[in-house]
């Protein structure tokens, strides 16, 4: 059984998901998340020495498509779904930091 997830790790995961958790919430959620992970970790107890790694539940490979263009969506329809639009583009809040 792997080590239980700590309160600090829970805070880190929350930050990655852009969840703003209070100290109380962290106290409450850290053990709950640990419980979920413990449940999933039961799989680790199974002996898989003879089982090759599985990348996908279906025994499929090379699902491919021909390189032929198909019509895209109408821009008006696309942008109608956006909260803010300018100049044919999506307008988003000020970005802090560079692209990853």
């Amino acid at each position: 059984m792997p080590a239980r997830i700590t309160r600090e790790e829970t805070a880190h995961v929350a930050r990655l998901a852009r969840l703003d958790l209070t100290d109380d919430e962290l106290d409450r959620y850290a053990p709950q998340l640990a419980g979920v992970l413990d449940h999933a970790a039961q799989v680790a107890a199974v002996d898989t020495a003879a089982t090759p790694p599985t990348a996908h539940p279906f025994p499929l490979r090379n699902v491919l498509r021909a390189d032929v263009p198909v019509p895209s969506l109408d821009r008006q329809v696309v942008l109608a779904e956006a909260p803010a639009v300018e100049d044919g583009r999506f307008r988003v809040p000020r970005i802090i930091g560079e692209a990853p």
């Binding site: 880190h12 990348a55 490979r61 090379n62 390189d67 032929v68 809040p93 000020r94 692209a99 990853p100």
Partner: protein, 479 residues
């Protein structure tokens, strides 16, 4: 330049190359630069609920071409989601290959004789284009941003070198040779200015003899080969100065500021991203079989190094001079070397064929690549036989490149028919007769007056006379 005395640089390059496919990586939207914003988007590349990605055969094939051209092993691979919060991907993740990339363990031989290892060349999707608006117009302090998702989902191959590059010069050589290979393999147009090839550099320094690597910084925003070598040089100097001053290099991502000629901090290690990679459940593994791999391998034409050697060989045992090496590199990089080889094979002086191709044809390389080599050769024959002057030949060449056709016809249409020798003699004689004073001085040894007479003959013949033929007529009259 190389590192300051007593120091060595350890450099690795990550090159992103947009693939020349008709459609995006996972959907049928067009892969096209310069379209109206957000006109090449669909539920798949916008990440709308219920949409499912399907991999493009052409992208896989071009990725394999790159891998095989770089002597990589093509392996079964899987796709992962790279998760992050940044509005350049509407899905909030980018599909990439993580620990099982399609191409591994290759290398690239550089023209200087060195070899740089290629760790991997994997497939991933490009991101959308964000424009920062307001305030300073720079990333830091922008008021808001506008996003165009036409580029989101365009197929990329990221080529990761081993950290075996030791100088800015070698880094530039690597990037330029890689670009030539990407173009030659048909995978990319190699246009750095349009962003179809983008370079990031990982740079660290250590004292000569040290085995341990120094802390590295990643430099982004290198939009030209010149930026790459300037930025690497600057970064080496910056890091050496820090360590020599008793400080420690901090692991950072830095942004190259072309105008100021320096790198600036973008983010430090503490802000480093945790991408939470996990296998993309909507895509099945990719495993090209041996037959497909061999098919692609056998369809690869000769690579730039071999093609440069073929052009140099035209010049015989002495090879091409250093001065010509640049021209040779140019015609190969632009994919015009077949014109030189065809012309030289038909008896054109290699120097003439190379010069016209590297200088004139290269001016519109995309169109020149479509020119019929036989027509090109015919034109150079007309110049070599002096039926056309150099100036006229260049004008016909420009026409041939833009519109095609038979060079003889183009020359006639442009009024470049060579004058019959008899009528040229008459015109020269008439011009001489009209300017007795100048003629006397010319005969008395004022050789530069040849230009005066030639000019008059040209005007009278509306430029149809051949300069060398006029000179011959003048010499004849001088007796």
């Amino acid at each position: 330049m190389s590192a300051p005395a007593g120091w060595e640089a350890v450099i690795g390059l990550e090159v992103h190359c947009e693939l020349r496919t008709a459609t995006k990586l996972f959907c049928g939207c067009r892969n096209e630069f310069g379209a109206e914003p957000n006109t090449h988007v669909c539920p798949v590349c916008l990440g709308l609920p219920g949409s499912l990605p399907v991999l493009s055969t052409a992208a896989v094939e071009l990725a394999m071409r790159i891998g095989l051209a770089l002597h990589c092993e093509v392996r079964p691979s899987v796709f992962h989601r790279k998760n992050y919060f940044y509005p350049d991907m509407p899905k909030d993740y980018q599909v990439s290959q993580y620990d099982e990339p399609i191409n591994v363990a290759g290398y690239l031989d550089l023209p200087d004789g060195s070899r740089v290892g290629v760790e991997r060349a994997h497939i991933e999707e490009d991101t959308g284009k964000t424009s920062h608006v307001g305030d300073t117009g720079r990333i830091h302090g922008a008021g808001y941003a506008l996003v165009d998702y036409n580029r989101a989902g365009v197929p990329l191959v990221e080529i990761v070198s081993e950290p075996g590059i030791t100088s800015a010069t070698q880094a530039r050589l690597y990037a330029s040779e890689l670009r030539a290979i990407l173009v030659a393999s048909g995978a990319s147009d190699g246009r750095m200015e349009e962003g179809s090839m983008r370079v990031d550099a990982n740079v660290s320094v250590r004292r000569v003899g040290d085995l341990e690597l120094g802390t590295r910084c990643e430099v982004k925003n290198l939009n030209s080969l010149r930026s790459l070598s300037r930025a690497v040089d600057h970064e080496i100097g910056r890091q050496v100065a820090i360590v020599e001053g008793g400080g420690r290099v901090e692991q950072q991502t830095r942004h190259w500021d072309e105008d100021r000629g320096c790198t600036v901090t973008l983010r430090s290690k503490e802000e480093a991203y945790d991408y939470r990679y996990f296998p993309e459940p909507d895509l099945v593994p990719l495993a090209p079989d041996a037959a497909w791999v061999e098919d692609v391998r056998s369809s690869l034409g000769p690579m730039p190094a071999d093609r440069r050697r073929a052009v140099v060989a035209l010049f015989g045992a002495g090879g091409a001079s250093d001065a010509r090496a640049d021209q040779v590199a140019t015609v190969v990089e632009l994919g015009l070397d077949h014109l030189v080889v065809a012309a030289a094979g038909a008896g054109i002086e290699p120097a003439l064929a190379l010069a016209r191709t590297a200088n004139e044809a290269a001016a519109d390389a995309a169109a020149a690549r479509e020119v019929d080599p036989a027509a090109y050769t015919a034109l150079l024959q007309m110049e070599q036989r002096q039926e056309l002057s150099a100036t006229q030949a260049k004008a016909v060449l420009a026409e041939l490149v833009t519109g095609g056709g038979a060079p003889v016809e183009i020359a006639r249409r442009m009024g470049f028919e060579a004058l019959a020798a008899g009528s040229l003699a008459e015109v020269v004689a008439a011009v001489v007769a009209e300017h007795p004073g100048e003629w006397e001085r010319f005969c008395g040894g004022e050789a530069k007056l040849a230009g005066f007479f030639t000019g008059h003959v040209m005007r009278r013949t509306e430029g149809k006379a051949n300069g060398k033929a006029v000179a011959a007529e003048l010499a004849k009259l001088q007796g």
